[in-house]
Symmetry: D2
Subunit: 337 residues, 4 copies
């Protein structure tokens, strides 16, 4: 961390600033320029609140020099984290996992039909929503516990691990049979929930908030990890921008940026990112080409009657086509010559 001193601050002022900083157990080192003096902070700078230091009338600005996340940081953990559920590996060289299924669990029949199709075409994990975060209180809110029971049946019938969203820490005891707990974009900074999942210990798929920076996503992962759970996967699902032709703007470069900053697996969700079936395959291909570790995709055999988000679901045959293209692209990503 560095503190930029306001021009015109006398030497005694700079000395006083250094004392304030050192009183928190952090060393200082001063660089005097022609117009500008900088104080370098050396040591455990997590003891310093940068906004507070910036509020000192002699300080012009404070800049971080190192990232505030530790457990999620590749610098301190250079090896890729590999999450393993029911024999499926996510993350790490050579692994690539596709999670597919309907937006909402609607019925046992619906899930069985879709699960058979997505498994046949190469999906490794089955997804389906039982608790649904909907913008409107008047929209379908999910089947709840009944939906989780249906997912359990799919898990056994097709021998596929299951992933579903948790919205409320109080529901946690219903999730015993769930393999991966998903935290939705709207709950990315629901810190109570994150801590609870950190203690619970099962793999978590953490979705990036609509207006969350990459650093904030990593800080939310840090919340889970700081409670002892390092089975965290990150999911890019589009951010909010001024563009309205797609539901969100898929930030494809977040994938290589995250790859550099963290050792955690990186999943892409092209369904929520775009909001329209016809854009899902191009974006799924793009995410694969950018070296995502996996995809989460919505598939429905009868989207016109889906309970939610039918507009972004792939038909089974569209999913098959997507999987073929993704397969070729993976060979470009992993090629060495």
């Amino acid at each position: 961390m560095i503190a930029i001193v306001k021009p015109g601050t006398p030497k005694e002022g700079v000395a006083q600033l250094c004392e304030i900083i050192e009183s928190k157990g952090v060393s200082t080192s001063v660089i005097e320029g022609a117009n500008q003096t900088i104080i370098g902070l050396v040591g455990d700078t997590t003891r310093i609140d940068p906004y507070l230091l910036e509020s000192n009338s002699m300080v012009e600005a404070v800049r971080r020099v190192s990232e505030p996340f530790k457990k999620a940081n590749r610098k301190f953990h250079p090896d890729d984290t590999v999450v393993e559920v029911g024999g499926v590996k996510i993350g790490g060289k050579g692994n690539f996992a596709v999670m597919a299924g309907p937006c909402s669990v609607e019925s046992e029949e619906q899930c069985m039909i879709i699960a058979e199709q997505v498994k046949k075409h190469g999906a490794a994990i089955f997804r389906g929503g039982a608790f649904k975060p909907r913008t409107s209180p008047y929209s379908f809110q999910g089947l709840g516990k009944e939906g989780l029971d249906i997912l359990s049946k799919v898990k056994r019938e097709f021998d596929m691990p299951i992933i579903t969203e948790i919205m409320d820490a109080r529901d946690l005891d219903l999730f015993d049979d769930v393999d991966i707990l998903q935290v939705g974009a709207r709950n990315m900074q629901n810190f109570s929930l994150l801590k609870e999942l950190g203690r619970y210990g099962k793999p978590v798929l953490l979705k990036r908030g609509m207006s969350a920076t990459i650093d904030e996503l990593l800080m939310s992962a840090e919340y889970i990890m700081s409670e002892g759970n390092d089975q965290v996967m990150l999911c890019e699902r589009g951010i909010r921008t001024f563009e309205t032709r797609t539901r969100n703007t898929f930030d494809v470069s977040a994938i290589p940026v995250l790859r550099e900053l963290t050792h955690l697996p990186i999943i892409a969700d092209p369904s929520h990112a775009t909001g329209y079936t016809r854009f899902v395959t191009p974006v799924a291909c793009a995410a694969t080409a950018a070296q995502a570790d996996g995809l989460e995709v919505e598939v429905h055999h009868d989207p016109a009657h889906a309970a939610s988000d039918g507009a972004q679901a792939l038909l089974p045959e569209q999913f098959e086509d997507m999987m073929r293209r993704v397969g070729i692209i993976r060979s470009a990503v992993t090629a060495e010559w």
Copy 2:
């Protein structure tokens, strides 16, 4: 709601679309243009999922015609909602309330000092955080229950209603003595929490999420109201944009927009919007000039040692100056000639 039909769709296709819509209990009316055919949907269009209808291959796009919020909608409730706590009125013509206090409750002494000052200069309600939503798990997380106890003492000592943030529905029984429960920006779409507060029934201050549209803010208010609680206040506290010179971008025009769309009281938080003490007063004045119903402002007698967000706190004398200017501006807002 209207559905725009894809050019080239034959008459039978249009008829088929109308049947699909009517099967959900909604009437249709067709307008044929030279290049474009439109289907008007008449009746209770909440039965139609616009995204789903848009996914039909004969539909080009779907546009809403009326707002999806009802209880919060001024069209159906033209009179201003007035929230009253401990004799203080918020909302409605002629009322203007200022909530002030420290970002975090740090100690009884700290709160007593600040409460005396803010009361003296005209604040009607005391604010202070006991549960703190922090981006980093390594930052101060608030005093919790102990903080709530201190707030209760302030309430009695100074006869001021108190407002504080709730982050987890499981803590609700600790909030018995709290007058207004605040929902933070990060929890604006924590729907489980919103429903619980709807059932709890006490006044709620709902902060706009960092990337929430005005319509989404109103839909979140609708979640609380649909459970039977209409004591909801809305708070503009800055949205996330590309500009980094301030912590967020205060959306001042949201105030007149909300005034038109809803009957709920509108509060402005210039402290979190800007992030820096020196911009708080100008933005507080701006919000007042734009006809906000009140302000929530952070005040600290010793910001350099605040446990959180000291960089944006006003000193008591700065708060006094702000209150004077706000007073003059209120006279411009309420003037009739």
Copy 3:
């Protein structure tokens, strides 16, 4: 176009609105709902200013039903536009063109070295900036005419068409030997320049403005095309969002969206989108996977001494690696089974 009538407007008001609209030569058709009345506008709605109509006190809102662009619109021109320069085809099925070279033209020697390398590895067109739009007036502004002369030499030496940016219509007579004129993001709505290029008639690569919607990009293309020049290519180069880990946010889904809306070729610029060499190849691969018609990439043999934007240039060997991966991905994009 539809006009949504304010609730409570009497029948005579609606009739009056219809008269106003019909006085501009546009027919109307009224749909009366329980709570809401809609007027459908039928005919040449370009005669109606939607903002103006919306300002009528009886109108709640106006929604467009059809796109305001015509010549760029795939609906009216379903076949892909293929731009051909010096034997290189851009756009249309099976064509894929890579434009590569340094950000700035610095010297003849520099350009010759780079051109040899990029040609060897498969670039079809040579890029280099002679007039440079720099945020600071104190930064290198380009070699100007001398730079254009160097580009001409490269063109002859390596038999490659050349592309370079034009910033000022007054320079147009210097561009006689240039094959493709590039309009930078900052000039996307410099309408005087666009009209001039429309009259000039040579192929134009139009970059998307940092905060331009896809529709605005198409309207700017329409400016060029409405003057008689239909040799327009569109370039996605990243938009401005709140994320700061990359220079801009590459909007990969803009590629399939544009593919649907327009027949014009779509080029991606991963260099400016990301701003950092190490993210260029993943994003180039992603754009290819999303079915771009080509790439514009910055390559420099000695980035540490580049006059501008060295931080985002690929070394020739990195460009070679990128081209190999892009080649495999193209096979996934064009596969049929």
Copy 4:
């Protein structure tokens, strides 16, 4: 400027980096932390391209420490710039100027009617567009030279200085009689035009681009000033965000931020910021409360027949009401006690 060294870089690497930096005439100073080494750059750091330095494989990141603008910087020019045209002062303590008139000049009669009204109610300067930047090539493009002639007549008839937009440097000889040349948001980074206006020497009102940061706005002012013209005024007119209830999002805190960073006058344009008449007065009041030096507002006596932007024009009586409220608010802003 500081360079953050990649962890694990050996001492020789750091020394090598210092040599590279010093070879450009800038001194260095090294701070070694436990995990992180920082190099401070001391001297004229405008010689260093931060992106380029960041591209060095031993460098993790580069951070600016001082602003890149000089002539516009309040640090070096603490006194407010006061622009004076035709006896009207803009900027500086106690001055406040309102520019009002129609969006487009439509006819002599129209301008005379409006000018009389706005003058009567306190406007000091008359605005009107002769060259109009329109998103669509099919929209009204302005009266051009004829419009400028009408403005000249208004100037003489009412003894008011006039302001109008210039879109093309080639039109400059038509602007002899214009007092203030306006650069629109879309041309904020049309550097050729900015340089030309720098040489021309007349007062310029520079509008902030829709996605321009405050720093970029100041760098564009610097383009004009670096050519010798320091008569520059800055105009906040709304930025582009995800919110669609207003045409743009008026960044009210930009006003106090600019006040701190620069000595140039700061004008607010509530008409373009909001896009709707009914929000103009609240935002004009807010801007005044935030201590803008003036306003630019659109007024039309017959908005329903305006050639452009009628939806955001105030009627003369609405303008009168706005001016009264603004007057009271100014007294709050300038009060001392």
